[in-house]
Symmetry: D2
Subunit: 347 residues, 4 copies
């Protein structure tokens, strides 16, 4: 049994990790930390876990995280980088669901997250937690910076057309018009995400620049093997879970004869968690609610030179905790679907 610790179990990615890991047959949840709620049963805060998770929150000090095999950080940005070096030194694997180990350039991190990186020496070692791209590196990694929710959907959506330097679409006019449910903002007291603010309302945000932009461009450039520049416009939509990314790519002359449907189907044929929908589909977010699946549809209206890629994911599962469990499975040599074989909840 893998001994798991979770730092920061009071947020949405924390409770989602607990939902998934509590049914994972190779895992024991050894500790869930929350300084503020120490002593309270986790299931008292989240009654949905009654009968499934019996552990109480503990302080980081009492948690003895060093005796875990792996520690997930479901925390605000900045927490993982403060604790990761010590855990790694003790032989514990670290999976950070926040942004501490996503960006390779500490200056970029500082620019977007307004804090200095405290262990830049680990950035080179840290593996980017996007299994479909980095499966082998993940399997042998000690430290993972999990892909963000938006970046997961955008990178998977563009993977087949950019991978390996393919010259199918223009790489400097890419647009990702993304829509996220409100849980993406986390479980923290803020006016902007109140029900009476975000309900029956739709808006863009971060148009000037969003933290996920450098992550997306870094990831796409790595996939492509050359610089890629994508314009990312996130929107807040009144759903609890779900991201829908509508990606626009201009097809290059050398890409015009490509059968994009086939390209996507072949690329993802062996992937457990990427489902290429039949031609003409328009996937809906609820078709992946509660599951680690991403569904993708590819459109080329009028057989013209614009490729439209639609991607849906559950931002808390494939966009966060589910993908983290997938990555953990890889790190411990388990079947990738273990603990993630959940049917989406519809309606």
């Amino acid at each position: 049994m893998i001994k798991v610790g979770i730092v920061g179990g009071t947020g949405y990615t924390g409770v989602e990790l607990l939902r998934l890991l509590s049914r994972h047959q190779e895992v024991t949840i050894q500790a869930v930390t929350s300084r503020k709620e120490a002593g309270m049963k986790v299931s008292e805060m989240f009654p949905s876990l009654r009968g499934f998770v019996d552990v109480a929150f503990s302080t980081p000090e009492d948690a003895d995280l060093k005796s875990c095999d792996v520690v997930f950080f479901a925390t605000p940005h900045g927490v993982a980088m403060a604790q990761a070096p010590e855990l790694l030194a003790a032989g514990v694997k670290v999976i950070d669901l926040a942004a501490d180990f996503r960006l390779k350039d500490p200056a970029e991190f500082q620019k977007w997250y307004a804090m200095e990186h405290t262990c830049p020496e680990l950035l080179a070692e840290a593996v980017y937690g996007l299994a479909e791209v980095n499966r082998e590196a993940i399997a042998s990694a000690r430290l993972i910076g999990m892909a963000g929710c938006y970046p997961t959907s955008v990178q998977l959506g563009l993977l087949p057309v950019l991978e390996g330097g393919r010259q199918l679409v223009e790489t400097d006019t890419l647009i990702a018009d993304c829509k996220s449910g409100v849980s993406g903002a986390g479980r923290k007291a803020e006016v902007g995400t109140l029900f009476a603010e975000a309900g029956d309302n739709f808006k863009a945000y971060g148009v000037k620049g969003h933290r996920h932009s450098p992550e997306i461009n870094q990831g796409l450039s790595a996939i492509h093997g050359a610089p890629v520049s994508l314009t990312f416009v996130p929107h807040l939509t009144p759903l609890i879970r779900g991201i829908h990314s509508t990606i626009y790519a201009r097809i290059k002359p050398e890409g015009r004869d490509t059968d994009f449907q086939k390209l996507f189907e072949e690329r993802f044929a062996g992937e457990a968690f990427v489902d290429v929908m039949p031609a003409g589909s328009t996937p809906e977010t609820r078709s992946v609610r509660g599951s680690n699946m991403v569904r993708i549809a590819v459109h080329r209206p009028g057989n013209g030179d614009l490729l439209i890629i639609l991607v849906v994911e559950d931002n808390l599962v494939k966009g966060a905790s589910g993908q983290a469990v997938q990555v953990m499975n890889l790190m411990f040599g388990l079947p990738e679907r273990q603990g993630l074989d959940v049917v989406p909840l519809l309606p």
Copy 2:
């Protein structure tokens, strides 16, 4: 023109006062205070007011509230009682939308609001702002404690059967099962009212005791002229605006021959803001969205001894700011509908 000041313009009752008063033809909005946002245009915080409200937030000091004819307090509990004495002394009328002047007994206030009342000497003078009950007293009042959102719906629903000591229903087994939209909790950063918490979710709260219980019982007892005891169970429902009260009353033997439909229709025949629906109706909250109207339906299943009264209101209008404007109209001798002649927004 009536010079109006609003203390606390950043919450939902504040913006709702501004929506209504900005179209009120006898009113000038002289000042809207917010210490925190002083200097910012009100319409910058609430773009819905662009073109309708040109004023900026000011500090209480700069606002010169004493030069107003009337000041509304759309503030947390405790603010109005700190400022009312001085304003009243300056000849300014005061309308408090919070609870400072609702309960007649300062001990009760202290018990439920966890603060000492700082001007108990004003409690006797303060008139309870429920126009359909206290119209005359309101017209000559200097100081109003506006009825709460739930209490407005419950008192109006029971008014015809309790008024003037009528012996139609049992007064010690009354139940009000009330459901409120999330805006009732105000525009303040709290986890419990986040979209991802309150959305697609339904729960009771305050079953042990809710602040509106003493207010309801005080009001009903005053209406009845004898003690009335009602069990009040509030619920949070995923709508932005709206309260639906389902009231259960046991009909006394002496009430069994009453034509309750007729009783209700006659009682409210002259009321501008109470609409008794045809027999058999089930009013919906959206039928009053954005309006000061209350709609009531009366049911007596199987002609038995249980009376079921359904009441819907918009908690921010008739349950708060609209009713406050109605009360202001009464205080200044204006037509009661002035500024409130708004068609509900459906869908």
Copy 3:
């Protein structure tokens, strides 16, 4: 492996059966019928099932339901009673999720469902599918009339105080104020349940009389062993899944010394799917979203003579398809939790 047939797989209870049964390790889904969609893959209509359910809809004729071990009817009222006799004769067990076999009196059925009962001779044999009440009878039954969604919550909520003729509460003044999510109305094209009608809206319905009233009173009377009369008022609330029942019971003098919290805890101690919450709790519907669990809290404000029982369930799971799987497990001697060990989805 149990060979399962599902008649009527295009509605919400159908897709929910498929979600649960597709992960049930003792079950093979042999046929899903829909005359209208025959030939279409089930997962084409419900992409959430892609990768989990590979079967296509078939016509009833092609389905060879007689070779199944058990057939679920997830159909409109009236379908099961037309097909049950033949299936039973062929040795197939029948579980009807509609109302055909709920009411024992065919005249009552005809009154509430506006159709004549075509096999009244089966009504006596049919077992009411509420496992916590009828476990043994279910285990040996051939034909089950599943409990309705509202009736499940109300009966479980009152079970401990009424069972076995207990004289704890008045049985003629019971009230159940129930609130249901919109999926309870089914997946059929109707104006009243459109998003733009039912969204941001709350209303009562069926106040004059609802089909679940006779079912509730029949069930409670059977539980109590004497006539029970409950007033049932359903409400439509803007959530997708979930029922919240607020039940009011007057405590009799002989019940006043009862420790109701303890009574409930002891009654349900061995039940896999009934969770009595700690004293003072207010359970939320999302705490059971997607799961077969019912959560109950018991309140007695001011230690007075009113008992308030709060019950939450997922109307599509414990209120329909999950309970049907639970019943199937009992009928086939399987562990009651088999295939139902799902963590609720929160948020």
Copy 4:
């Protein structure tokens, strides 16, 4: 007083016309037709109108529409073209909110709406009801084909950069990624727009081609004076009202020195219903809820060559009924804001 007839008063655009026109001081509502509901009071179907609209539905025959000054068609496509010729011949002005008179080419109409146009001879005369573009033509028109909901937002968003042949942006790579609330689908019984289908869900639709595409391109080409080709991708989002269009335009070399914020502000300076937000804004749909206002924000990330234009409108007001009243005002020489001076409802 202008005598108004409304054909088809049972849908959302119908009730919205009634909401607005019932407060319009120069209007008398003479008839509201619905063959199916003839005889029923309009306010019985829409209780929100109780006290504001006293008229009953009548059959088209009884309605005597020829005695009206103007008739609005709030009907499915195809109804207006059947009745318009006779009304026009009788001297009645006609405003069609459906698509019968939007497209200039009857072949295009037939292609997209799957019916033959029955009065193509009127298409040349019909004026496109987008006031900000066609104000003068509208003022003297007899027959108006109102702009669609999506096309209104997209055309207003691109008006300043395309008008009069301006060479500021590429006209063959334009993209409009649009998101609509569910009321846009109308008040008709359909599975896809049920609360339990469209709630907590997000999806694209019509990616292959949507009826509003030819309308948008026709309108933009007319504005530009040269062919414009825009890719239009609509999405369904779980809000009741509201459209958010995110428009992407590539800036041409000759447009790079343009101050787009200023361009937009100047273009719309005199417009009553177009509000150019301050630089950097991200307008939200609720900021125009219930009002005829459109709010626009202009972004140019990194001062690069991509222009992002954000447009919000209420699809039932500026996208339909409000704009129709605006057009009526123009046709009758009334102030454009008459009856439309409504503060948006927030929250």
